[in-house]
């Protein structure tokens, strides 16, 4: 059953050095506050998984938290590059970064297999492309019924998945809506799940298009209003596109980034202790 705790406690208890950690949220509901707390608590040697690393992994990787990145599209959407990730991949700064790279369809299906308790998932894939030869988690399987050759991807089972949602009740049932990305699969594939929410409520009122994560698949919930900013929370606040554009300038240069990191480490973690 889910515990209601502070973000600091939740990260302290659930995210360990060396873990495979997935922070999911497809443009929407990206768990920025939780990522920042991981930086503050100085986790190291993480294998970070995200379909779109986005600013949050540029920050975690720039801060030296990771040794490996599993991803499928690594840019600042509509703006440009993620320079901290690029610096880590091409120049090993601040630490060497191994990569395991996929298409979106492959990585989404790795979570699907993990969520379903299967060792792999099957898709038609993208025969003829160069990426599978660099990625051991992608192989070929023959259909036992038709003989067709199909793409197989290995299940992904993170030690901990972190997502942000709009609401949870006091028992830790979680509700999110809008673009729901791959969060449900990422949570169900993981051994532990940490969810930050905009608000804790007494009762979850149904919302059209909602995804509900029942309390027995959630390890801990922390109330963190604004915890997805500068990404957005549908029904709560909009994406801060200016912050995404400004990140180019901060990310491009090691010293500017170091100054940003310094500020982050001085700031207190958001979110009050659990009741």
């Amino acid at each position: 059953m889910a515990k209601i705790v502070s973000l600091r406690e939740a990260v302290g208890e659930l995210v360990h050095d060396g873990d495979t950690v997935a922070l999911e949220g497809f443009t929407h509901l990206i768990p920025f506050a939780a990522g920042h707390e991981i930086i503050r608590q100085q986790r190291r040697e993480l294998t970070l998984v995200r379909m779109t690393p986005d600013l949050i992994y540029d920050q975690l990787i720039g801060a030296g938290c990771a040794r490996k990145l599993i991803f499928s599209w690594g840019g600042n959407p509509g703006v440009g590059a993620l320079y901290r990730i690029r610096d880590a991949i091409t120049r090993g700064w601040p630490a060497p970064l191994a990569i395991e790279e996929h298409s979106h369809a492959e990585l989404a299906n790795r979570y699907v297999a993990g969520a379903a308790g299967l060792p792999f998932a099957v898709l038609r894939g993208s025969a003829g492309t160069d990426l599978p030869m660099h990625t051991p988690a992608v192989s070929i399987v023959r259909c036992p019924f038709t003989g067709e050759e199909l793409t197989a991807v290995a299940a992904l089972t993170p030690d901990v998945t972190v997502v942000h949602a709009q609401r949870a009740d006091r028992e830790g049932n979680v509700q999110l809506w809008g673009i729901s990305g791959v969060q449900k699969e990422a949570v169900l594939a993981a051994r532990r799940a940490l969810v930050t929410v905009e608000e804790l409520v007494d009762e979850l009122e149904p919302v059209a298009g909602e995804v509900v994560l029942p309390r027995f698949v959630v390890t801990a919930v922390a109330e963190v209003p604004g915890g997805a900013a500068p990404s957005y929370a549908h029904g709560y606040y909009a994406r801060d596109n200016t912050a995404y554009r400004d990140w180019q300038r901060i990310s491009r240069d090691r010293e500017t980034f170091a100054a940003w990191l310094d500020e982050l480490q001085k700031a207190e973690a958001v979110g009050e202790p659990g009741e």
Partner: protein, 250 residues
Amino acid sequence: MRFTPEEMMTVAAARGLRDGQVVFVGIDLPSRAANLARRLHAPDLVLIYESGTIDTRPDELPLSIGDGVLAETALSVVSVPEIFNYWLQPGRIDVGFLSGAQLDRFANLNTTVIGEYAEPDVRLPGSGGAPEIAASCREVFVVMRHRRRSFVDRVDFVTSFGYGTGPADRALLGLRGAGPVRVITDLGVLEPHPVSAELVLTAVHPGVTVEQVRAETGWTLEVSDELGRTIPPTERELDVLRSLRTVGSP
């Protein structure tokens, strides 16, 4: 009315979309062209973005592939595994709309690395949804600025499969979509030769010469016997294009 090469490219790309088609839209140039078409001749164009938004009708252009405006105006929002597994993979999409950092004479696209994969000169964003879009849509349109460094003889890395090394490759690999049927640039339009599958120049935009296009192409570009000239953007096309605003733009 005066217009820029960029505007000509977007208008030419939009004109290629027919009303009622189902389009899988990438961000930036493809999104701009698809939203222009929907406001002009194709009001019933069905736009699908990989963030899971089906039949979305954004009043402003999204900056990112998963902006709120896409979810708020969608007929339905589904998960990311669902959009790829149930909607793209089985062949329900008429046109996939892609762009890239490099394109070669067989319309293979690179959005992964310039140089070697293990030691890249430039690390690019990577695959995203593109490899499966290129594999599974009935047709693919590519829209890309025409520069010699981007239009190369062979891409450094095949992120998304065009025609590989010739006309037989797609069938041999079991790819079900037709592949890239049109490449729209800011200089003209290229289409695969019906026999060789190599891209040939089939139209030039107003004011552009064949020599100019060849100078910006990294292989010996063949020119179609029936080379067309693109009709300049109409006043209405330009008015609508210029009224398209991106969410949160200054």
